[in-house]
């Protein structure tokens, strides 16, 4: 066995099991956080791709007239198509409200785009329905339940006999309508008049990479109302997973940084305690390189064990951290990735090496003779610090506590830095939660500046508009008509907006609201995707209508990751609004919805806007858990650093006790030191946290298409309390770790080795 390895193993044997375990645990926590984040980011993709393959690769979904769709089946770009499928729309009662639904007969299982049955069986009688899997999980609908559907044929009650996943759009609640499947008799019962039925065609392309180009080309064909390419749907399905995973991984970096400072601090303390042993080894012939190598190997062995454990924990945890996908597709299975193991080991290895080498070099370069004759460690010491503190009129305990912190500036800085990272993590987490809360409580942040929606289908638009304008409960309204549109060879969502959108409260971030024909207001994602800016002019095709538009501004929109363009409805004459979006003068969305139902009659389908906060719960808890993790690691480090510092000073504490320090003063001196570290951590961590929060939150809001600058800082109360709270935590930690020493007889302390 090499001398270096022998030294490393001897060091491991000499460590207390608790200290060794703590180092490995810190490495494990950091690795687990990073691996979980990376896994969440990547685990959704393969799962979605698998079901895409199982569904026969549905690259395009084309909506339009049945005849036109039949004509498209022979298009050269198509490798295969399913049958032209009839569907109707309706409202499904879910809980206290209702949700828009598209009801179709399922194509044969082998057809392109056939929905995938998840539970139960397919409907075989008129009174049966297969429910959208994601919506069923979200709303707690189970096989055997009875649901009520309000469609053209009237209110029908159906029995749920199964659930299925359908890839024609992203999953509820990110996308609606939800998709339901009935047998042909069931469809006829829901839409007895063929005029109430619509058609769609699902196609597999010969070249899947050409989906956007094909969508752009077909979108302009006669009789085609819209085209949805699979890449857009896939992106929409995975957006939340990507953002959530990135957030987890970012917090994992926080844990990793905290871990680095923890290891550096404990390594410095441990090496100081082992200085005599190291000098003895040097005396018997160990070179500096061997000493450093041995000390580094000792830490890396623990780090490697921790990284593997953390990788395992992160891998096991990742399936439980799915956002959005799990409802539709069930939890993903375990995905064991050697790459993530290598990344975890590399991250932990680099961090631990950086954290160990410097103190190890210092330890190896100490004057051997000084150590062997028990001379106190040389330090740059505290002559200046001592003189400075003498000038301050501090109580003896405070004076001593602060002095000990300042006497070892490097180690104190490491301890404070670890705590500062925790403070920053808390600030970032609090900011994220505040920003999330904004998105939930201010629907305009997500591009939905209304309180209730009235479905346009089956209503007389002019009558509805007149009714809305006369209602005292209504502050304003606008209409929207969605079309898949094309710009060049790429497709996106274009929205014709009628009524008075300028008063609708869209969150216009740059430029001006949409006022006149020829103008376009776009989402940030649209500008980013096409490399455009406010003031640019674009020529698009909305359905088969060519439009020349000047971009007058951009607004916050999260639908289709912000790749949305709004223009005036006057430019799409004859189009029926998909929905009337109504703002309340006062009162809740539910109250407005009730008033609208009363005014517009039972035929009108009205939905109050609902804050989709359930999905955010996992995100919120995960943020809090990660911030808590960083905090725990940092506090453990603070406690360990203060404890080792107190042990190093045990003899001095004994001397102070001989002079007359009481137990309380012994505790107070340590609390003072801890408080100073806490204050330093707060002062550094607070601005760092705010800057990091701005950067990360901008990345997040840009990622979801809403654009930068939407973040909302944590409450000022939290910010004001940060530094005092950090000081208090430091003081409590200081007092806690010295309790045992404070109770130790002074005679033991003055004999302390």
């Amino acid at each position: 066995m090499s001398a270096t390895l022998r030294l490393a193993l001897s060091g491991l044997r000499g460590r207390s099991k608790v200290a060794a375990g703590a180092t490995a645990l810190v490495a494990a926590l950091a690795a687990a956080a990073v691996v979980a984040g990376l896994s969440v980011q990547s685990q959704g993709g393969p799962q979605v791709d698998e079901i895409y393959r199982d569904s026969g690769r549905p690259d395009l979904v084309v909506y339009g007239e049945p005849g036109a769709l039949e004509g498209l089946r022979g298009d050269a770009a198509f490798a295969a198509t399913g049958p032209v499928t009839a569907y109707t729309t309706g409202e499904v009662e879910l809980g206290d409200g209702s949700v828009e639904a598209r009801v179709a007969t399922p194509p044969p299982a082998s057809a392109v785009g056939a929905p995938q049955l998840r539970t139960g069986r397919w409907a075989s009688a008129a009174g049966e329905v297969v429910f959208d899997r994601a919506a069923a999980v979200e709303a707690g609908v189970r096989d055997g339940d009875r649901v009520r559907i309000n469609a053209a044929g009237g209110l029908v009650t159906l029995t749920v006999v199964g659930t299925a996943v359908d890839l024609t759009d992203c999953f509820y609640p990110d996308c609606d309508p939800i998709r339901l499947f009935v047998d042909p008799a069931g469809l006829r019962a829901l839409a007895p008049d063929v005029a109430d039925q619509h058609s769609m065609l699902i196609a597999r392309l010969a070249d899947p990479d050409a989906a956007d180009a094909a969508a752009a080309r077909l979108g302009g064909s006669a009789g085609v109302e819209g085209v949805q390419p699979w890449p857009d749907t896939r992106d929409d399905i995975l957006t939340r997973e990507l953002i959530f995973g990135a957030s987890l991984a970012a917090f994992g970096i926080f844990v990793l940084l905290a871990a680095a400072f923890v290891v550096a601090g404990t390594a410095a303390a441990r090496l100081l305690a082992r200085r005599r042993e190291i000098a003895m080894l040097q005396a018997v012939g160990y070179t500096n390189r061997q000493i450093i190598g041995g000390l580094l190997a000792e830490t890396l062995i623990l780090g490697l064990a921790g990284a593997v454990l953390g990788w395992l924990a992160g891998t096991l945890l990742a399936p439980f951290l799915q956002v959005g996908l799990s409802a539709a597709m069930g939890r993903t299975g375990l995905r064991v990735s050697v790459v993530s193991l290598l990344i975890a080991v590399a991250f932990v290895g680099v961090i631990l090496t950086a954290a160990t080498v410097l103190p190890a070099r210092r330890a190896a370069r100490q004057p051997v003779t000084d150590v062997l004759r028990d001379a106190p460690p040389r330090s740059a010491a505290p002559a200046r610090v001592a003189r400075l503190l003498d000038r301050l009129r501090l109580a003896p305990a405070t004076r001593f506590g602060i002095g000990t912190v300042l006497a070892r500036p490097a180690r104190s800085a490491l301890t404070a830095a670890a705590l500062a990272i925790a403070v920053a993590a808390v600030v970032v987490a609090a900011g994220f939660l505040t920003t999330m809360d904004r998105f939930v409580t201010e629907p305009a942040s997500a591009g939905d500046p209304y309180d209730a929606a009235v479905a346009g289908d089956g209503t007389d638009g002019a009558r509805t508009a007149a009714a809305l304008s006369s209602m005292p409960e209504v502050a304003g309204w606008y209409t929207q008509t969605d079309r898949r549109a094309t710009l060049g060879e790429e497709t996106f969502l274009a929205r014709a907006v009628g009524g008075d959108p300028a008063q609708a409260g869209f969150l216009v971030r740059e430029g001006q609201p949409l006022r006149a024909a020829g103008e376009a207001l776009v989402g940030y994602g649209f500008l980013k995707r096409f490399g455009l800016g406010v003031g640019d002019t674009v020529d698009i095709r909305a359905g088969d209508t060519p439009l020349a538009l000047k971009i007058v501004g951009w607004y916050s929109e999260t639908e289709d990751t912000g790749e949305v363009l709004m223009y005036r409805a006057e430019m799409l004459p004859g189009a029926t609004p998909d929905a009337f979006l109504v703002s309340a003068r006062s009162g809740t969305p539910a109250a407005l919805a009730t008033a609208l139902r009363e005014r517009l009659g039972p035929a009108a389908t009205v939905h109050p806007i609902e804050a989709d906060s359930d999905e955010l719960t996992l995100f919120t808890y995960s943020m809090l858990v990660m911030a808590g993790l960083v905090l725990v690691v940092s506090l453990a480090n603070l406690a360990a650093a203060l404890l080792s510092g107190a042990r190093e000073r045990a003899r001095v504490l004994g001397v102070l006790r001989t002079v007359g320090f009481t137990v309380r003063q012994t505790l107070a001196q340590s609390a003072s030191g801890g408080a100073v570290l806490g204050v330093a951590a707060g002062i550094v961590g607070l601005p760092v946290g705010l800057v990091l929060f701005q950067v990360l939150s901008d990345q997040m809001t840009i990622g979801i298409g809403a654009g930068p600058g939407l973040s909302r800082s944590p409450s000022w109360v939290l910010l004001v309390l940060t530094v005092p709270a950090a000081a208090l935590i430091g003081a409590l930690a200081g007092a806690a770790v010295t309790r045992r020493l404070a109770g130790t007889p002074a005679s033991t302390l003055v004999r302390w080795e």
Partner: protein, 245 residues
């Protein structure tokens, strides 16, 4: 009858480490009168330092009593003993006596500050003692900037600055070269001449011979006690005992 300054009676102290026990003191009694200089000597591990620590209230005996200036010390808790030490006791150890993060003057004035003496007065009194002990110039230095002998003089200054009833010294010259040891011994002698009571633990017979009374310990017991007051040939006291081989 005058009450003794320091009285220890039937002290027993046993250290326990796992299953092993070590009887450091076995039924030790000692009385120190005001103005006495008592040297406690004996081989390593005989219980000298343990006895000194019990006398100064740094530890509590398993049984027995310690009375200091008419107050029972051993039944007080840690803080209670600390408060008594502030007023009545000064301690000097073999090395590492000083608080490294405080200047010399900061170290010396500490007992006064703890007693609540005004900072200005504490500083003046501390400087006075430092001058008296020949280290006044080093008042603003950090301990690490001083030699071992200087540090020990500063420790002595801190131990006497608040005019304690008794000075307890544990091998105060043990880590010094002979010249520095002579200086410290001379300082102790001068403090004693001015009325300071001293209890001193030492291996050094020459230092022990400077005391009025020499108590010799072996295996946790006092095995010899001699009064050297008026002895004609103190420096040769070392020749009288031969217990440390």
């Amino acid at each position: 009858m005058t009450q003794p300054l320091l009285r220890a009676s039937a002290l027993v102290r046993t250290y326990r480490g796992g299953a092993r026990e070590h009887a450091a003191l076995r039924d030790v009694s000692l009385t120190v009168a005001a103005g006495d200089w008592v040297a406690i000597t004996g081989p390593s591990g005989c219980g000298k330092s343990t006895l000194l620590h019990l006398l100064g209230g740094l530890d509590r005996p398993d049984s027995g009593e310690v009375w200091l200036a008419g107050t029972r010390l051993d039944d007080r808790d840690e803080s209670g003993r600390a408060l008594l030490r502030r007023r009545h006791v000064g301690f000097v150890f073999q090395f590492l006596n000083l608080v490294p993060t405080m200047t010399v003057i900061g170290n010396v004035e500490l007992p006064l500050v703890l007693q609540g003496v005004a900072r200005r007065e504490a500083r003046a009194r501390s400087l006075e003692v430092l001058e008296e002990l020949g280290v006044g110039d080093a008042a603003d230095a950090a301990p690490a900037e001083l030699s071992g002998g200087q540090q020990q003089r500063v420790a002595l200054a801190r131990a006497v600055v608040h005019r304690p009833d008794v000075l307890l010294a544990d091998e105060p010259t043990g880590a010094l070269d002979s010249a520095s040891a002579d200086v410290v011994l001379d300082l102790l002698r001068r403090r004693h001449d001015s009325g300071q009571s001293i209890v001193l633990v030492t291996h050094d017979h020459r230092v022990a011979a400077a005391a009025d009374r020499v108590v010799t310990m072996l295996d946790g017991e006092i095995v010899d006690e001699r009064d050297l007051t008026g002895a004609k040939d103190r420096p040769t006291y070392a020749n009288l005992i031969n217990l440390e081989g």
